[in-house]
């Protein structure tokens, strides 16, 4: 009785690369792992180089003439402008501590997703083109020349990095792959290598103020639509103000909260909170249709684009004459605020030192940026007993908390959201150690990679996170994954649905909104999602 060998049965199973050096294995651009290229329109609108129609699967990427030179000079320029980049190019010893820390590697097993190798893609060019040793010794010094093949590989893998920085905390020299990716993408953008999912929001944001291209009246309509919903649930209709000159505080949140489930529920949470503060304490918070986007896909494009998009926040705050700015729950928005905004578009000397007018707390940690995170703001209100909360309205929620990469590894924002959560819900379970706080896993769709066409890489990248969620779901029956990032809310929803059905995703302020008792409200029967509250079923 003879049995066929599996290798003859499954001819396709040949994932083992030929025993070749990684430099000799060109990137095989696979559907499901890459995002579609950007069309010409958005690039033209914001004046980015080489707008054209192209497809990564084509052989010809329609690169501009002399593109090699553009990249090399661009690199040279950035080596002088960014010490981080220069040092990260020079001192990696390839110890491999980061190798198994990347969620894309853990999920996909593609060795070029090891952070060290992703950086080496660029480092090999640096050595081969810009260092004497590399120019003379070539491969022996770990250098290689910039060819079209190499360029394609860089493009492919630099759009498979979500800039989550998890690898960087394990690096003995603090090499931050996110910074390398940012500069790598900046270089690619010099010759028009982009992805549509980033370029389009960038252009939209530049024009209309938000990524989705929502025009001012639609923005207002949408929020009012939420207010109607709230009225149905609470019997009270919040009345937000827009572009109001002389308001106390300007509120900026990612447009994802306004236009995509389940962020919309978080947005309703904000509206409820602001209404409560207005009624109880007379606090005047205004929304802007001009600075209607907290997120900043410029961060995923180039430093310059980031600055161009970010400038709106301070400009609008100045125009409206507010005291300070309040920022919604968003990941990379906060990364930009925390690490770039004040440096790029500051100093914000036209704003006041942020002080909570209700509690009198001075937000010392935001004394220069003058922008306060809404979770900090709410945590302070709760700490000072200024909110009338009823936890039992979240009795159907058994939550865990996903530390979004940017607030976690970009800010060190760990305890504030947990404090808020513990005050608005009864049941909270942490995911296992090593998957939370500074070691948190990415949702798989950060840094502009939450497109539809690259779903497979997102699912693979999301697996480590989902696996930890599954653990608490199985063990503690956790049914809600809370987070403070709009991209998370969008990405995790599909990701969790695939890996851990039965778990939903929400923002922290959705839960705050659920628990907050508005003065004069009628008895509530459903939560913000319209789901019947526990104990109200028979009515």
């Amino acid at each position: 009785m003879a049995i066929q060998k599996p290798d003859t049965m499954f001819k396709n199973i040949d994932h083992k690369p030929p025993r070749k050096d990684w430099m000799d294995v060109p990137a095989d651009i696979k559907p499901g792992r890459y995002c579609y290229a950007a069309g010409p329109e958005p690039l033209e609108y914001v004046g980015m180089p080489n707008p054209r129609k192209w497809d990564p699967l084509d052989k010809d990427w329609k690169l501009p003439e002399n593109w090699e030179n553009t990249i090399i000079t661009g690199m040279k320029e950035r080596l002088e402008k960014y010490r981080s980049f220069k040092i990260f190019m020079d001192i990696c010893v390839r110890c491999g501590a980061c190798a198994d820390k990347c969620h894309y590697f853990i999920g996909s097993g593609d060795p070029k997703n090891m952070p060290v190798l992703r950086a080496e893609l660029l480092r090999s060019i640096y050595r081969g083109e810009l260092t004497t040793a590399g120019q003379i010794l070539g491969r022996f010094a770990g250098g290689r020349k910039l060819t079209e093949e190499v360029l394609k590989e860089i493009w492919y893998y630099y759009y498979q990095c979500s800039e989550c920085r998890r690898c960087s905390i394990f690096c003995p020299y603090g090499i931050d792959q996110a910074e390398i990716t940012i500069i790598g993408r900046e270089l690619l953008n010099l010759i028009g290598l982009n992805i549509g999912w980033i370029a389009q929001p960038v252009a939209n944001c530049y024009r209309t103020g938000n990524h989705l291209g929502i025009q001012p009246h639609a923005f207002k309509d949408m929020l009012e639509f939420f207010c109607d919903d709230i009225e149905e649930i609470y019997g009270i209709k919040p009345e937000p103000t827009f572009n109001k000159v002389g308001a106390d505080i300007l509120f900026v949140t990612p447009s994802g909260d306004v236009f995509a489930d389940p962020g919309t529920y978080t947005c309703m949470g904000y509206l409820i909170l602001f209404h409560y503060l207005k009624e109880e304490y007379g606090l005047d918070i205004t929304w802007s249709t001009y600075a209607s986007e907290g997120g900043n896909f410029g961060l995923f494009t180039s430093h310059e684009m980031m600055k161009r998009l970010n400038a709106k926040m301070y400009m609008e705050a100045k125009r409206l004459g507010v005291k300070w700015i309040l920022g919604g729950e968003c990941g990379h928005m906060w990364r930009v605020i925390h690490q770039y905004m004040d440096t790029m578009n500051g100093p914000a000397d036209f704003l006041e030192m942020p002080i909570s007018p209700i509690t009198g707390t001075r937000f010392e940690n935001a004394s220069s940026t003058k922008m306060v995170h809404i979770v900090e703001f709410t945590a302070d209100l709760i700490k000072n007993g200024k909110l009338n909360l009823n936890k039992s309205r979240n009795a159907n929620v058994r939550a865990t908390y996903h530390d979004s990469c940017n607030p976690a590894r970009g800010m060190g924002f760990f305890d504030e959201p947990r404090y808020v959560l513990n005050n608005v819900i009864d049941t909270f379970h942490e995911m296992p150690q090593g998957t939370t706080k500074e070691q948190t896993f990415c949702c798989g769709g950060g840094s502009g990679l939450n497109a539809g066409e690259n779903e497979e890489i997102r699912m693979m990248g999301g697996l480590p996170r989902a696996n930890a969620v599954k653990f608490v779901h199985d063990k503690h029956d956790v049914n809600m994954l809370s987070c403070i990032c709009a991209i998370d809310r969008a990405t995790l929803t599909a990701m969790v649905d695939y890996w851990v059905p039965g778990v939903q995703v929400c923002g922290v302020h959705e839960l705050v909104g659920n628990a907050l008792i508005l003065p004069g409200e009628h008895e509530r029967e459903t939560d913000l999602r319209g789901e019947t509250l526990p104990g109200k079923e028979e009515e």
Binding site: W22, E80, K81, Y82, R83, S84, F85, I87, D90, I91, V93, R94, C95, G96, A97, P111, M114, V116, T131, F140, A141, G142, R165, S168, I169, C171, P172, Y173, G174, I175, D176, R207, T208, G209, Q215, P216, H217, K220, N243, V245, T289, Y290, R308, K312, M315, Y340, D342, T343, E364, N365, S367, S368, T369, D380, M411, G412, F414, D415, Y419, G434
Partner: protein, 342 residues
């Protein structure tokens, strides 16, 4: 393959020193000129490299935040993992530089396949890395006995401590054993773990083989192929007092040892070994994480083209007015202007 190339290169260097200092009798070249040049290249090259890094700007303050940031007084700040003060940064740098904190972070107990408790192998990386670096330091300091006269007591003491086991004569140095073990661990790790082999370059193997060569020639010289130590001291003292001599009776093994060390010094500033200086300059670790609190200035910050509110309102004024949103310029004015323009 990459490893074999590097190994051959080290062998070639050894052969070069053997032929040069041995057969051809170019002791002055190998004992004086090359070492001088090597020290010069090392010190100058190292400093130039660091200055080169220094010339690059630090436009943003981006630190890795591995702990709770400074927040409200009632939230416990992690002053070392996410420092907001200079002292915190000093502490963090101390742990990074002297104790390899980040590598140690890898050490984690995990529940493996249900119940078995397992340690990740990375703990070994930390352990052997730290053993290697410290023994290397000890060995360098120990060699100061050849470069000082009289030998200051700290070096004498270090020598005695290293030979504490009092095994054999000359006394066996503990550091000889540890550094060999550590080097072979680091080498085998690269050779045997497929992912490590994949990411390793010749420039990873070469310094390893080179240092192994230095260590082995040193050990051979001390324990097996004896050579006249007093003559070596005369040579080394001649070097450091700028009165170079090449005394009689120094074995070739010494020149091989010295030549490999010289090559290491030459190679140092142009290689990854510069992590020695780079670790101090790594912007993610040597800055405070208080960017929201204290403004960081970008020396090359330049104005960019932005979409102003006025331009925005101009485009959407009609719709804004229609939706009841406040506008700066009334609608009529705009249309008038528009008409005027036409």
């Amino acid at each position: 393959m990459k490893a074999i190339y590097s190994l051959f290169l080290v062998f070639a260097l050894i052969l070069l020193a053997m032929i040069g200092a041995g057969t051809l009798g170019m002791e002055y070249l190998f004992g004086v000129i090359i070492p001088y040049l090597a020290v010069l290249a090392f010190v100058v090259g190292f400093m130039l490299k660091v200055i080169g890094w220094g010339k690059s700007a630090v436009p943003f303050r981006i630190t890795s935040t591995c702990g709770q940031a400074k927040s409200f007084p009632w939230i416990k700040e992690n002053k070392l993992e996410n420092p907001s003060s200079t002292w915190g940064v000093i502490g963090r740098m101390f742990f990074e530089v002297f104790l390899f904190r980040s590598l140690f972070r890898n050490t984690k107990v995990e529940i493996h396949d249900g119940q078995r408790i397992a340690y990740s192998s990375s703990k070994w990386l930390w352990l052997f890395a730290i053993l290697f670096h410290y023994t290397f330091l000890v060995i360098v300091l120990r060699h100061m006995r050849f470069f000082t006269e009289p030998v200051p007591y700290p070096f004498v003491l270090l020598d005695r401590l290293d030979g504490m086991l009092q095994i054999g004569a000359p006394v066996l140095y503990i550091s000889s054993l540890i550094i060999l073990a550590a080097l072979f661990y680091l080498l085998l790790r690269r050779l045997l773990i497929p992912s490590m082999r994949y990411i390793s370059l010749p420039s990873d193997y070469f310094p390893l083989f080179l240092i192994i060569g230095v260590v082995i020639t040193g050990i051979l010289m001390r324990y097996f192929l004896k050579t006249d130590i007093m003559a070596i001291k005369e040579l080394s003292m001649g070097l450091v007092t700028f009165r170079p001599v090449t005394p009689e009776g120094i074995g070739v093994i010494f020149f091989i040892h010295l030549f490999l060390v010289s090559v290491l010094l030459f190679y140092f500033p142009i290689s990854k070994l510069m992590h020695m200086g780079g670790v101090f300059l790594s912007p993610t670790r040597n800055m405070t994480g208080n960017t929201r609190m204290v403004r960081h200035v970008n020396p090359w910050n330049y104005p960019v083209k932005v979409h102003t509110y006025d331009a925005y309102e101009d485009e959407f004024r009609e719709k804004m007015v229609e939706a009841g949103l406040p506008v700066v310029k009334p609608l009529e004015e705009k249309s008038e202007n528009a008409e005027n323009k036409e």
